[in-house]
């Protein structure tokens, strides 16, 4: 029996996993990272536009602070997020940007003096103060009141990933590449590590750890049309679900990005619109102002994607051999800006569309982009249901994003959560709960169980093609569980997903090789992906309201009275055909920002009975302490500093003072 011991096992070598690993390593613990691919290949690298942090260095960022970032985030989430977590996040984001700066990220900087920008389709001259010269600059992104998105051209994720990955190398953290965690080892109450398959040799090894942290990113590949990398198959969430003890949350909260190039589905950054790009229809008409007069192209992603699909349905789409699409026009930004700040976009347009975006419009259509849901954790990143299991980044439902994530908040979440969760993992390792009390019998049991599962796939003699079932599942998800959802379509999807799950027990794997075997990998991942698809679809079917990215045509209103709840999905019995759903209410009476209108999108929510009471309470508290500074006021409304590691609790300095 192969056994490998480590203090901390991090599953996933993207930004979140790497940053959490560095945190635990710096506290003196042995850390091992598992990664499907070399860590610098992780999907984090594909984040283009930037990372939100309220540095307030620029003219258009003046007056920004944690409060504004917090409120933007909560509004963006359509009040679905955990406000304590949003507070922790908004507070830590500036520290994360500054830490990354120290680690080498070449953030674009403020140049003092005047500069030409494009806003709302018009050229505008901005003046940057001399005081800010050389500080980290920011661009505009959707759903934000201030220009808050720090960036490195449009390769922000790449620059961040390389800096953090190189930091992990500097800390001497080993990364076991081309390894996949295929099961968590647990006893129903405590997680002890994972069974890991070597994707080259096919060998299984039991990795035993005091703490296991899942940072495997999202599950975009449940969908046919997605901006996600091919490795984003949600395996971290799936193996957590398969424990029967851990819980997934808000799986139906799936984000669709407005500007994926059509038909390849490759992302072009929200920065295109943030920097002044506009959306046009077949007639060349800029249609977003018709739907969203206030935020136009820069409403939150869920709103813009929905408006785009709505406009397509109204027959305004441009026609191509692959179907209907709309246009993203960034020609008005000029060659110099595109060559400097949107160069990945330029390369993508050239390579995949054969066009020059400085001269031609870009064919776009919304595509699946982000999973707000994931492994349910508490504010420290500890997974619900299993001691010693943690999750962070897109794999987790830490619940920063609720039902819609703001652009620029995902790469920010990866490093911020990594900074916070890494410390909490170290705390666990240093506590008595961190002791590894472990029986080799348990490891042997899990190893042989997984050996048997793989053996059954290889030699089971089934008839179904894994690739065909996978393709059908992805098509079904895109067609039936997409931007516009409806009860009957969702019910159809559930029915067919169940049927696919049954068929997926009878797979044919032709390649009998035990080691590197892409067919076998597809086969075992398919079975897990079907479970995740069922979590998404069942959750969407049950949620009879519209909130953020989850939009039900048959229930178009946000219903706080009934649905201010987080969906919880578990799979306690491996034999059950669908997940067990449960709900966790969000407490309006402890919200710092009680539910209201987002400032964009529909304005027809059904109010929660507590909303008005809480709103009065908050207003009264503010009135009662007119002289109190914003920090004191905030602490009275929603204390959160105690949940942060001590080293992250300090106030954030700003060049222009505290706004």
């Amino acid at each position: 029996m192969r056994i490998f011991y480590t203090d901390v096992l991090v599953v996933g070598g993207g930004l979140a996993g790497l940053r959490a690993a560095v945190g635990a390593r710096r506290r003196g613990h042995d850390v091992t990272i598992l990664s499907l691919v070399p860590p610098k290949r992780s999907h984090s690298a594909a984040a283009q536009g930037g990372m939100q942090a309220s540095l307030a260095n620029t003219t258009k960022g003046a007056g920004d602070n944690e409060d504004v970032h917090f409120e933007d985030t909560v509004r963006g989430s359509d009040w679905g997020c955990d406000q304590v977590v949003a507070r922790m996040f908004a507070h830590t984001a500036p520290k994360a940007v500054r830490e990354l700066a120290a680690w080498g990220v070449p953030w674009n900087r403020v140049t003092a003096g005047t500069r030409e920008v494009v806003m709302d389709g018009k050229h505008v001259t901005l003046e940057e103060p001399a005081l800010a010269h050389g500080l980290i600059t920011a661009r505009d992104f959707g759903g934000t009141k201030k220009w808050r998105t720090c960036y490195v051209s449009d390769g922000t994720g790449h620059a961040m990933l390389y800096a953090v990955s190189d930091r992990a190398i500097a800390e001497g953290i080993p990364v076991h590449e081309r390894k996949e965690a295929i099961a968590l080892i647990h006893d129903g109450g405590r997680c002890h590590g994972a069974i890991v398959r070597d994707l080259v040799s096919g060998d299984l090894t039991a990795y035993l750890a005091r703490a296991t942290c899942i940072a495997t990113g999202g599950f975009g590949r449940l969908y046919r049309s997605t901006t996600n990398a091919v490795i984003n198959e949600g395996m971290g969430a799936a193996i957590a679900l398969e424990t029967g003890a851990a819980t997934l949350a808000n799986m139906e909260a799936v984000q669709f990005h407005p500007t994926a190039i059509f038909p390849a589905g490759i992302l072009v950054t929200e920065g295109c619109r943030g920097d002044g790009g506009v959306l046009r229809d077949a007639a060349g008409h800029r249609f977003m102002p018709d739907y969203e007069p206030e935020k136009k192209e820069l409403a939150s992603r869920d709103v813009v994607s929905r408006r785009m699909e709505q406009h397509l349905r109204a027959g305004h789409g441009a026609t191509s051999p692959f179907g209907q699409h709309l246009w993203l026009d960034i020609t008005l930004l000029g060659t110099a800006h595109i060559d400097g700040k949107l160069r990945e976009v330029k390369e993508i347009c050239r390579n995949f569309l054969g066009i020059d975006p400085a001269r031609d419009w870009i064919a776009v259509r919304p595509a699946q982009h982000y999973s707000m849901g994931g492994i349910r954790t508490d504010a420290t990143g500890a997974a619900r249901g299993l001691v010693g299991l943690y999750a962070c980044g897109e794999a987790a439902c830490w619940d920063l994003h609720g039902f819609n994530r703001l652009g620029g908040n995902s790469v920010a979440e990866t490093v911020v959560a990594g900074m916070i969760v890494g410390e909490h993992i170290a705390d666990l390792c240093e506590s008595s709960d961190g002791d590894l009390t472990f029986s080799t019998a348990l490891a042997a049991e899990f190893l042989s169980r997984e050996e048997a599962r793989l053996g059954a796939l290889l030699h089971g003699g089934g008839a179904e093609s894994p690739v065909a079932l996978m393709t059908r599942m992805q098509t079904l998800m895109t067609d039936n569980v997409g931007i516009f959802r409806r009860g009957d379509l969702l019910q159809d999807a559930v029915t067919e997903l169940r049927a696919l799950s049954v068929r997926a027990r009878n797979l044919h794997v032709g390649t009998q090789r035990r080691g590197a075997n892409p067919e076998l990998v597809t086969a075992y991942r398919l079975q897990r992906m079907l479970k995740l698809s069922l979590c998404v679809t069942e959750g969407a079917l049950a949620r009879t309201e519209s909130r953020g990215a989850h939009f039900r045509e048959d229930y178009p209103r946000r219903d706080d009275a009934t649905w201010l709840q987080r969906t919880l999905a578990t799979w306690p019995d491996p034999e059950q055909a669908t997940p067990t759903l449960a709900y966790e209410p969000l407490d309006v009476m402890s919200m710092e920002l009680p539910p209201g209108w987002r400032g964009y999108g529909a304005r027809d929510a059904i109010e929660h009975p507590d909303t008005e009471r809480r709103a009065r309470e908050v207003a009264a508290l503010r009135e009662a302490r007119p002289a109190a500074d914003r920090h004191a006021l905030q602490a009275a409304l929603l204390p959160f500093l105690h949940l942060l590691p001590p080293r992250l609790r300090g106030p954030n300095a700003r060049a222009g003072g505290d706004a």
Partner: protein, 243 residues
């Protein structure tokens, strides 16, 4: 209106599976070309319909992550951003040389790059940790952009596969390594000095081993100016060595 007849592509792929006894050999696959077909689409189609055992690596399929470097008609490039349209009806695909082959078109660039990073210490060396609560130190905007120019490297390995020196001498750090040092030399946050850089690349496995064949510069999928980065480093290291 009927669609034009698609081209029939014949793709010769160098097959191998280390551990198996069979020697590497080309195998031909025939598929119909579709509009806008990239090698990512073509290879997945071959795997889905013709040979499920075919090994290759893709991650982002958008030219960003650097996973899919391979020899396309003998020339290193990213498969995901190569359109079949730009190739003939018959072409070859082979794994990148220099790197250990995992199987078929899949090579282990990860281990090579990690070893390079450890050897050249490709990270910011600072004696003190940053104060995370304080306003960040300033940097000239132009300098930040110059650093990013070199920082855009995606470690795909194409430069190594295109390097005559790297074919002959396995310890040569190649353009990817030299470009890293050029990048950290520019960065004032890295406290290392030229003496330190010289200790890392001031030898024939480093910058003085480069024979300026410029295969790296010509194939770099990100269009990095490797020629000038390496020349800049060479001048600096020569000056350091002669000091």
């Amino acid at each position: 209106m009927s669609a034009p007849t698609p081209r029939r592509l014949t793709i010769h792929i160098l097959r191998s599976a280390p551990g198996d006894d069979a020697t590497p050999h080309f195998e031909a696959f025939r598929i119909d070309e579709s509009e806008g077909m990239t090698l990512f689409i073509a290879l997945n189609e071959i795997r889905a319909n013709l040979d499920p055992s075919l090994q290759f690596d893709f991650v982002c399929r958008a030219g960003i992550c650097g996973s899919c470097g391979m020899l396309i008609n003998g020339r290193p490039g990213l498969a995901c951003s190569t359109l079949t349209h730009d190739l003939g009806t018959e072409f070859t695909l082979a794994p990148l040389p220099v790197f250990a082959v995992i199987g078929d078109l899949s090579v282990d660039t990860g281990r090579w790059m990690r070893a390079m990073s450890e050897r050249l210490e490709t990270w910011i060396h600072a004696t003190t940790d940053a104060d995370l609560d304080a306003v960040e130190p300033r940097m000239e905007p132009a300098l930040a952009e110059a650093i990013y120019e070199a920082d855009r490297c995606i470690e795909c390995g194409c430069c190594i596969a295109a390097c005559g020196t790297a074919q002959m001498r396995p310890d040569f750090v190649g353009a990817v390594g030299l470009n890293k040092i050029a990048r950290f030399r520019l960065d004032p946050r890295d406290e290392r000095e030229d003496a330190d850089h010289y200790a890392l690349v001031g030898n024939d496995d480093g910058v003085f081993g480069c024979m300026t064949l410029l295969g790296c510069h010509d194939v770099c999928p990100k269009g990095l100016s490797l020629r000038s980065q390496i020349a800049y480093l060479r001048r600096g290291m020569a000056a350091q060595g002669l000091r």
